[in-house]
């Protein structure tokens, strides 16, 4: 069952790819709006308000787009333009002028960074309301954006644990998390939410850039006090070295505890890293974003004041069945509650 370091390193590009699902690598900053158009639906007629979507072209963003299309396509002119990490802010500026959209959807971190730059360079300009999705730790960035709301990309721990509760028979439900001080506020919010479901959360804080030994020590300490380990989608704690020299040996030591991860690629039959992955359902994420836009439209295209960042409501789940059967106890009919089973 144990994953050798060599095999693991071969799988890393996939892991990293998923962790940065919103970081595409297409390069054509000179393209015109027409060539950037990924999708356009105009069945609502020429007078229908335009919703402009800025997005990289990835499998996940296309799924979000399909959720948007299903909800908005009948009533709005929906146009999706490709924006990637190398796109200059002028791409967004030009599209705003050309399409005069009533509302925007921004997908992923580089897109949001480019949009921030546009807003900063035009402090006098009134921007259409925007909904941001697929952006890491969006709550920490929202204050820097005007007329913007969105849905955070991280699945709340309460949702992950509620899902796990359906699957595994656990002695109790204490969850342990290794976190950096920089994410203390985020972890605190998770603790508050989990308290609603009477799920205690124990934290082990590590330095901003821990080495594998520090991480392993934190995992060992946590294992003495909890029943489940939650591995946050923190790229600073999920470097290839920390995964192979910290997380994997730490989790492979007894006592074995189930671990929850936020990327399907971290659940693999070849490793014991993640027992169970919970990640946003991307089509449903698109529908949820569309719902926010419909509410904004009802409010005369204004983001309601004080509207914070919503949490993703719908998730998909993946379980490592071999690891689970070897180490833990599945509840009866548990597999009927899982979207994807890795054997």
């Amino acid at each position: 069952m144990a994953l050798t370091r060599r095999i693991f390193l071969c799988t890393l590009p996939l892991c990293v790819g998923i962790l940065s699902a919103c970081s595409p690598s297409l390069h054509d900053s000179s393209s015109s709006d027409e060539s950037r158009e990924l999708f356009s639906i105009t069945s609502a007629g020429p007078r229908a308000p335009t919703i402009l979507v800025f997005m990289p072209d990835t499998t996940q963003t296309q799924q979000v787009l399909s959720g948007l299309r299903d909800e908005l396509g009948k009533d709005y002119r929906l146009v999706a333009l490709r924006v990637d990490a190398s796109s200059p802010p002028s791409v967004i500026e030009g599209a705003l002028k050309r399409y005069a959209p009533a509302g925007l959807v921004l997908m992923n971190n580089p897109t949001v960074s480019a949009y921030k730059a546009v807003q900063r360079s035009h402090p006098e300009m009134r921007f259409p309301p925007a909904v941001v999705v697929m952006t890491s730790f969006l709550e920490t960035q929202a204050a820097e954006l005007r007329g913007t709301t969105g849905i955070s990309y991280e699945v709340p721990l309460i949702t992950a644990m509620t899902n796990l509760r359906r699957l595994l028979a656990l002695p109790s439900e204490r969850v342990g998390v290794v976190g950096r001080a920089g994410l203390r506020a985020y972890i605190h919010r998770q603790i508050e939410l989990c308290a609603l479901e009477k799920i205690p959360v124990v934290t082990e804080e590590v330095s901003q850039r821990p080495n594998p030994s520090e991480l392993k020590r934190a995992i060992r300490r946590l294992k003495q006090r909890v029943d489940v380990i939650w591995i946050m989608n923190d790229d600073k704690l999920l470097t290839p070295r920390l995964i192979s020299e910290g997380w994997m040996p730490g989790l492979d030591e007894r006592p074995w505890l189930p671990s929850i991860v936020g990327a399907a690629s971290l659940v693999s039959a070849r490793s014991n890293l993640g027992t169970f992955a919970v990640l946003p359902d991307h089509v449903a994420l698109g529908s949820q974003a569309a719902g926010m836009l419909l509410d904004i439209a009802d409010d005369d295209w204004q983001v309601p004041s004080g509207h914070g960042i919503d949490l993703p409501l719908s998730t998909t789940t993946t379980i490592d069945l071999a690891q689970t059967e070897e180490r833990f106890t599945l509840k009866t009919d548990a597999l009927q509650q899982v979207d994807r089973i890795v054997k």
Partner: protein, 205 residues
Amino acid sequence: MSGRLLVYLHVAIKQRALQSDMESALPGVEVIAVGRVADFERLLKDRVDAVLALPVVLSAYKLSPGLHGQRAGSSEERYVLVGVGSAPVASRITSVGALDLLGREGTNAFVKNLIGASPKVERVTKFEDLLPLLQMQRADCVLLPARLVPDLARASKLALMVQDIQKGVGLPAAASVGQNGPELLRAISRMRANVAKLVGVDQWH
């Protein structure tokens, strides 16, 4: 037997599992289980022989049911509102979570008709997504068939409180829409009881 059956029902298990259970109960039938109305609409145009859905959905798509589900002798089932801490009162709620049966307008109308009030409707596409609406306080309460309340409660330690609704909702029904439709409806009527129970039915007529 052969044919293509489109199932559009919200149940307490994953669509993948429902599809697999129904395929094993209907040998030779290609079962496609979906939970999103847009997927249902798309697949309805794709060589389907029969459709299994709630009567309110069949009616919205102008499909005539040829087979009706029953439970305990009734072709309707009870729905309830579930809130946290206190039983919801329909006239006082400002938002309600509901399974998205018919898109925004259709689902809003369905909910309004059922509870006799017009709160904001937060739609979700899966049964298990109703619980996050309560946990994250996105809705005052959620609307669901009474038979699914134990499944909701099993996953949560919130103080869930239930309020009955007077009006009933039709149990799943099947409509023939293709060449093999009549044969599929006969097969559904003989389907194993444990699989029919997954969709809330103990008898077909």
